[in-house]
Symmetry: C2
Subunit: 175 residues, 2 copies
Amino acid sequence: MDIRTRLLATAEQLFDRHGFNATGMDRLTEGAGISSRTLYKHVGNKNGLIAAVLNERDRRFHRLVEEDSIDALFGALETWLAQEAVRGCLFLRAWGETGGDVPEIAEAMERHKQRLRDRIGNIVVAEIGRHDDELVETIQLLFEGATHTAAYRGVAAVDVARRAAQRLANAVRAS
Amino acid sequence: MDIRTRLLATAEQLFDRHGFNATGMDRLTEGAGISSRTLYKHVGNKNGLIAAVLNERDRRFHRLVEEDSIDALFGALETWLAQEAVRGCLFLRAWGETGGDVPEIAEAMERHKQRLRDRIGNIVVAEIGRHDDELVETIQLLFEGATHTAAYRGVAAVDVARRAAQRLANAVRAS
DNA sequence: GCGAAGGTAAAATGATCGTTTTACGCTGCA
DNA sequence: TGCAGCGTAAAACGATCATTTTACCTTCGC
């Protein structure tokens, strides 16, 4: 495995498990099996590492949503949560831990949420045949809710969100 | 104002603004206008302070929800977000930053979510005249979603959640 | 075969962290 | 009058943090 890939993968795991500030560079280099010199050569500094982790995570998530449907969206979240014990949205967590003061991190968060929103926009069009802003907003909200509720109530939260989204979409479709 | 009250209030603000780990004890004592010796006399240590802040916050929130209705619930969240620039649920953030490894903090989070759930249970009974578990789960999910979506999209997210909750409650009521 | 690129190991840097300690001031009550 | 309780100010504590530096090793293309 590529060094950068290995670094980002282990960093993502450690950040999710212990938090960003609480994860020291020693634990990161040891986990990735590289020297600190190499780490800094690759990502500049800790904030650069965090931003890189987030951007990679965003890419991986969208690769997981194969088709534009409500089922696929929440299905992706479900497999997401099944294989990694996520403690809330990692983007918001990074943003919150850094007080929103680190541009690269704030931008990664912003970009991720915008991409998610765009994706849901496509899903709504695919599901009901036209654009509906309120439905987009609601589904994004349900997605966000599922992500965070799952942190303390388990994956079942995703099913609740999916069913609610489906019901609301049906209502709009019928109107 | 009482020392403990002042300490918890400023700590809550600083924690929310900068994160828990990033807020040093110096900034806390300076912000509260007390010596570090007094701080430790009052809350034991930093984790004790965090737990105290969370428990006080929980109490304050429930005091804000005056009646058992969907409107009151999301109305409380709205005024909540208007007067304090919340960056996601402070309970989940504390829990995440400490990796879930600090019992007092994990318990404060757990307790808060349970109390919220119980409250929503009462609201559902008041709204539709009977118990409905799925609706309770969905409204909690919408609440969680609103809390976190508002972090990057503003208070308007609360309106979206309230309308969705109302629509879903109406559907259940009509069935 | 040589030099550049990219890696390791380990120590040093200076700052900052949470926490404890020392020494002292004020206030109210017996 | 004196002492206990509660507060401040400030230094010291040892640990840990992110980052840089020094010295050395391997590999590969020319």
